[in-house]
């Protein structure tokens, strides 16, 4: 039985872009890939998953407990579903990082975290030591392979697919010891950081929360998503979901522009997969210039308005 199961990430209405990227990684194993949608009402998300090219089947697993993605309730369902598969993957987002190891432990499978390259059906490359080292690992062939797929390492699976959608009911008893309370979402109409083609970030150099407005302005001009360094999040300039870096989000846009970010290793780790990196900083010796494709030394409060003007 050589078949791969990918668990879809979604918010109940929209399929998260991480799923399309993880699908590309899952397909690299070389087996047919089914996508499972756990939800209270999986209809709309299942349709979106079915339109991804390369998906074989989409399984709707609907029950009231699946309204919110809790690891304690999802893991036993994934364990039950895994009986028909040789590989089970999730995207390496906070969703996948929370749920996959719980399911892997139930399956007795040593999980491969943050798969960045698929060498063969059991061998993978993954980053360790904050991306300073890449290691090749081989999963055992006598247990199901479990893993999370590093989304920045794979392109979106394109639309245009027409996978068959089927209902799947699982006879699994779910624990009542974990409850969802609330999700505080920082509302934004800007492109999602992890799938945006352009990302603009601000760091400590922006100075304060009010000043961050200038970063939003240039981002909107470029149609870019907005990120921030850990220093800017810790200082309270912006909410945590905007953090780019080793402990925040790993981004891979075509264009990454950062303003007032010094280039701490933990930030650089999150942007290494970007196409072109532009850095603006008033310190000519800032480490960010060592990795930026194009650097410009100067005051961001002078450079951004000029840039806005030149962009027309």
């Amino acid at each position: 039985m050589s078949r791969t199961l990918l668990i879809a990430e979604h918010d109940g209405k929209q399929l998260n872009p991480s799923t399309a990227k993880a699908l590309t990684g899952a397909l690299a194993v070389g087996h047919p890939v089914d996508i499972a949608v756990f939800a209270a009402d999986a209809g709309p998300v299942a349709e979106q998953a079915a339109s991804l090219e390369g998906a074989d089947k989409v399984l709707k697993v609907e029950r009231a407990e699946n309204e919110h993605p809790l690891a304690a309730t999802l893991a036993p369902q994934i364990e039950a579903l895994a009986a028909d598969y040789s590989h089970v993957f999730m995207p390496s987002t906070t969703f996948g990082k929370d749920v996959m190891p719980r399911a892997a432990a139930l399956l007795g499978s040593p999980q491969v975290s943050d798969i960045m390259e698929v060498l063969d059906a059991h061998s993978f490359k993954r980053p360790i030591y904050a991306n300073n080292v890449i290691v090749t690992v081989k999963a055992p062939s006598d247990t199901v392979v479990t893993g999370t797929i590093r989304t920045a390492s794979f392109k979106d699976a394109p639309a245009g697919g027409q996978a068959e959608i089927t209902d799947k009911s699982l006879d699994v008893e779910l624990p009542g010891h974990s409850r969802f309370v609330e999700l505080e979402v920082h509302k934004s109409d800007r492109p999602d950081l992890q799938s945006a083609q352009r990302v603009v970030s601000g760091g400590r150099g922006v100075g304060n929360k009010e000043n961050f407005e200038i970063i939003y302005r240039i981002a909107d001009k470029l149609g870019a998503g907005v990120g921030a360094s850990r220093a800017a999040v810790d200082a309270g300039f912006v909410p945590n979901d905007m953090q780019v870096g080793q402990t925040g989000k790993i981004v891979a846009p075509e264009l990454y522009m950062c303003f007032g970010i010094s280039g701490a290793i933990q930030h650089v780790t999150g942007i290494k997969d970007a196409g072109t990196i532009v850095a603006v900083n008033k310190d000519p010796d800032a480490p960010i210039f060592e990795i930026a494709d194009i650097g410009l030394v100067g005051d961001l409060f002078e450079i951004i308005p000029e840039l806005e003007e030149k962009l027309g």
């Binding site: 918010d11 690891a71 304690a72 987002t93 969703f95 990082k97 929370d98 190891p101 719980r102 399911a103 432990a105 139930l106 007795g108 040593p110 999980q111 975290s113 943050d114 061998s123 980053p127 360790i128 030591y129 904050a130 300073n132 080292v133 890449i134 290691v135 690992v137 081989k138 247990t143 010891h177 974990s178 409850r179 969802f180 309370v181 609330e182 999700l183 505080e184 979402v185 920082h186 352009r198 850990r230 909410p239 945590n240 979901d241 402990t247 989000k249 290494k272 072109t276 532009v278 000519p284 210039f289 990795i291 930026a292 194009i294 650097g295 030394v297 450079i303 840039l307 030149k310 962009l311």
Partner: protein
């Protein structure tokens, strides 16, 4: 309530890991070792819970080489009451570590296991979730705020979409994110006092924990270098080059 805090000995977070010449691992000879920073945050939180009067005892546990006693002594100096070292020369993978921690938890009867969300060496981010699964108890991962009420705990979690709050019934496993707290500095008198606190050394083989399936670890290599480019002198030059690269139209 008793709290178990797993502590991993890792290369200090200020040191950039280097691959050994034969690619079999990373250089550790003569390299400063410390408590995994996420575990330090977990320990700090445990100490604050105890200081608030919501816990009676904090037990720090490490799985690793004999040298990990050093990190456990630091944990004791910070405020753990006693420590256990499960000694092994082998690099323990997450599923194995989860089984070992499950065994220690059973022996100690702790209601809360508070641990780092990941170790900065293997960056696996698995052990807490795996322990919770094997134990059949809830997990609250990537926690940045933690409160207790009537046998339940409420955790605010840092997730990609924002901040999620969940309530889980004790006993439970909580894994910590960076913004939960800022760990205290250890003071000299506490280091002296820590020398007299109990540190129990156990051999992994004597624990009776069966080793699970594991990943075969192969070659280590440095990541492809991202070469820095150059500096431009003006916004005009910047815009011109971005257009030339085709990232701006």
């Amino acid at each position: 309530m008793k709290i178990l805090v797993p502590i991993k000995r890792t290369i200090d977070y200020n040191i950039k890991a280097k691959v050994t010449r034969d690619g079999s691992g990373v250089v550790t000879d003569g390299v400063k070792m410390s408590i995994n920073p996420f575990d330090e945050i977990a320990l700090e939180e445990a100490i604050r819970i105890k200081e608030r009067g919501e816990a009676e005892e904090i037990i720090a546990v490490s799985i690793g080489v004999s040298g990990a006693q050093q990190q456990l002594r630091t944990a004791l100096a910070m405020g753990a009451d006693r420590a256990i070292l499960v000694e092994t020369e082998e690099a323990t993978q997450p599923l194995h570590a989860a089984r070992i921690l499950l065994k220690i938890r059973e022996e100690e009867g702790t209601d809360l296991v508070l641990m780092g969300k990941q170790a900065i060496d293997d960056d696996a981010n698995q052990t807490g979730q795996m322990l919770a699964a094997l134990w059949g108890r809830p997990q609250a991962t990537f926690t940045s705020k933690l409160t207790f009420e009537d046998g339940w705990l409420k955790a605010t979690r840092e997730v990609d979409a924002g901040l999620e709050t969940i309530a889980v019934e004790l006993p439970a496993v909580v894994t910590t994110d960076l913004r939960l707290n800022e760990p205290r500095f250890v003071k000299m008198p506490d280091i002296m006092k820590a020398k007299r606190k109990p540190l129990d050394q156990r051999k992994l083989e004597e624990l009776g924990v069966e080793a699970p399936a594991k990943l075969e670890v192969g070659t280590h290599e440095p990541p492809p270098e991202r070469k820095g480019g150059h500096k431009v002198e003006s916004v005009d030059e910047l815009v011109a080059e971005l257009k030339e690269r085709g990232v701006l139209s």
